[in-house]
């Protein structure tokens, strides 16, 4: 049973090792793609198990919970692992066309695969300290990816990125230490029960706030987001796509996990705080984007504003709102990664990402224009694309609890998102190129074009599919939200509460086989 959970983490690591040893030959990049396909298959198999059983849990090394490291997948974890694998595969294919030989030799694919492993690990772990370790794995590999190539601009971005993330990590680690001191456990499922027994609930709220800040930096919420627009526009497009798709979402996932499972003791305080954060994050992100004139900087600020919607779903803390948050997470990863990939192609054929310096993409590359319109409209929330359903559910949830203001903010931010997307559309696609030539996809070599356009097309098709057939995804999100609000199954599966009590305290060898 443990292998269903471990394989999506093992495969990227193994791929990283192989891809690195073959980094000087073209095989390295194909190993990376093959490994990503393998990871996707493993993720889908895990998803099958979760759909079958609700929650799947296993103990690494056979050490029983709550002492050993638990890997656990509920609906939310499983869908995040699948979507990570999809993004990983898309970017691995895209990087064949995007990443230079020089960056291959510096170990791009190894760092990329380790990043995917770190993200997957963070989604699957059921242990707080282990989550910290996965955050470190992500931080180290993402820092490597960010500065790969070593231009001055990249190093500048890298320093900001690492400094702020280290501060977040320190807060997170201090929070872990305090929580362990108060409860004596770091197993998330065990914590869920232990925090209720703490006498001093005030201190617990302080710790909750520390986690909120720590994860908030990772998730890039207001007012802790400024590292994100400072760094995401500097690395290669493949790198910024995987960052945009996945990194902040790990922070959001960690927020959702901890503030539904463990820190639900003082909802009136923590979730009101989250609500304010959500509102400000949405507004500042979208206003920041309105002031930018660079393709990737606009998109980076939009990540911030979209994070606000996900946090809003968590903050409202109703079943429908969590459905919206889960749906939003999934939709956003696909759409945002795709927009960065498209920005990469636009830069490649028209020469820049600065909107004033490019143009004519609609005339020269109408197919690319169509592929841009799909995720851009989806991001803004046009029906019938995936973003519409995500926003619709969230706004409906806000109206249900009579949060008129926050619902109004969410709608207004959607409108401003359209403004930014129209700006990109008008400048990059509609107006003629200032240097007078018409950029076309035909200028790319055939192999490169295939590698760049295939993942973009595939992700755009997925966006449309989620939009046109939202029902299975919504009902999936509903089950997921129900699991988040009532984590009984999660806790029972991890701690095996239905197993005889002496089996839980007995040494590892005496444990019966895990049967979940």
């Amino acid at each position: 049973m443990s292998w269903y959970l471990a394989t999506p983490i093992i495969l990227p690591f193994a791929t990283a090792v192989l891809a690195f040893l073959f980094r000087n030959t073209p095989e390295g990049r194909y190993i990376s793609v093959a490994g990503s396909i393998g990871t996707l298959i493993a993720a889908v198999i895990l998803m099958g198990q979760v759909l079958d059983q609700g929650v799947v849990a296993a103990q690494m090394g056979g050490w029983p919970a709550p002492f050993g490291i638990t890997l656990v997948a509920d609906y939310l974890s499983a869908v995040m692992v699948v979507i990570t694998a999809i993004t990983g595969l898309a970017v691995a294919v895209y990087s064949i066309g995007d990443i230079t030989e020089r960056m291959d030799q510096l170990g791009f694919h190894a760092l990329f695969q380790v990043l995917i492993a770190g993200v997957t690990g963070a989604f699957l772990t059921g242990d707080l300290f282990n989550l910290y370790v996965w955050f470190e794995v992500m931080l180290i590999s993402s820092f490597g990816l960010l500065v790969l190539g070593g231009s001055k601009q990249q190093l500048d971005a890298g320093i900001k990125y690492v400094t702020l993330n280290l501060i977040s990590t320190i807060l997170f680690l201090s929070g872990i230490g305090l929580l362990y001191g108060m409860t004596g456990t770091l197993n998330m499922a065990d914590l869920a029960g232990s925090v209720d027994r703490i006498q001093d609930q005030g201190t617990l709220t302080v710790i909750a706030t520390m986690f909120l800040i720590g994860f908030g930096v990772k998730a890039a919420v207001f007012p802790l987001f400024f590292w994100l627009p400072a760094s995401y526009h500097t690395p290669s497009f493949a790198v910024s796509a995987v960052f945009a798709g996945l990194l902040t979402k790990v922070g959001v996932y960690a927020l959702i996990r901890m503030f539904t499972l463990v820190f639900d003791t003082d909802v009136a305080f923590t979730h009101t705080l989250l609500l304010w954060i959500a509102g400000f994050t949405m507004v500042t992100g979208v206003l920041g984007a309105a002031a930018q004139t660079d393709f990737r900087k606009i998109l980076s600020f939009h990540i911030v504003s979209q994070i606000g919607y996900m946090v809003l779903g968590l903050a409202l803390f109703t079943p429908l709102a969590l459905v919206g948050a889960v749906f939003y997470l999934v939709h956003h990863i696909i759409v945002k990664a795709n927009l960065f990939l498209i920005a990469g192609v636009a830069q490649r054929i028209s020469g820049s990402t600065e909107l004033g310096a490019i143009g004519g993409l609609y005339k020269g590359a109408p197919f690319l224009a169509l592929l841009f319109l799909i995720p851009a409209f989806s991001l803004a929330g046009f029906p019938p694309l995936s973003g519409f359903w995500a926003k619709y559910v969230l706004v409906k949830a806000a109206l249900e609890v009579e949060g008129w203001i926050i619902a109004g903010v969410a709608l207004a931010v959607g409108l401003l998102t359209i403004y930014s997307m129209t700006k990109i559309w008008g400048q990059a696609f509609w107006k003629p190129h200032p240097e007078g030539y018409v950029p076309t996809l035909a200028t790319l070599p055939a192999g490169q074009k295939l590698a760049l356009m295939t993942p973009i097309t595939a992700l755009a098709i997925m966006t449309v599919l989620i939009g046109v057939f939202p029902q299975p995804f919504v009902s999936f999100a509903e089950t997921s939200a129900a699991q988040l609000l009532d984590p009984t199954l999660y806790i029972e599966t991890v701690l095996r509460l239905n197993a005889p009590l002496d089996a839980i305290t007995a040494p590892a060898t005496a444990l019966p086989e895990v049967t979940q």
Binding site: M1, S2, W3, A6, I10, F13, A14, A16, V17, L18, F20, L21, A58, Q59, M60, G61, G62, G107, A110, V514
Partner: protein
């Protein structure tokens, strides 16, 4: 820093440090030591060599690119975790073999834990050397 004293002492010290690092690696399971500290000591041996003879010489003495050593170590550590699959145990369950064990004798205990530690040793050795040599070569 290429004084005669350093070079003469290095000849002796490097061999000693490498021996000691292996010793630390092997005693690690039951006593203080292990792959991490062993790797650090081994790396300091090569760093000393690089200080005395220059980083190009150290790379030649190392024969393999330090980053390749580190990544191979990661692969070995990963293999140690996956090895439990063959016995149907959970990921990273230690697998033990008692070489020459009889009814009364325990024999020589060998385990995947040791393989994991060897992997850690190589990761630490390789990554420390990659960093130090890169800094040494930076103009």
């Amino acid at each position: 820093m290429s004084s005669l004293i350093v070079r003469a002492a290095t000849r002796l010290m490097v061999a000693l440090l490498l021996m000691f690092s292996i010793y630390m690696l092997l005693r690690g399971h039951n006593e203080p030591g292990g792959g991490f500290i062993g790797g650090l000591i081994g790396a300091s041996g090569f760093v000393l060599y690089a200080m005395a003879h220059g980083s190009a010489e150290a790379r030649t003495a190392l024969r393999i690119d330090p980053l390749d050593i580190a990544m191979s170590g990661l692969g070995i550590a990963l293999f140690a975790g996956v090895a439990s699959l063959f016995d149907g145990d959970a990921f990273f369950t230690g697998q033990w073999m008692f070489l020459g064990a009889t009814e009364t004798e325990k024999g020589l205990p060998l385990s995947t834990v040791l393989i994991f530690d060897v992997g850690v040793y190589l990761v630490v050795l390789g990554s420390i050397l990659a960093m130090v040599l890169a800094l040494e070569e930076e103009v």
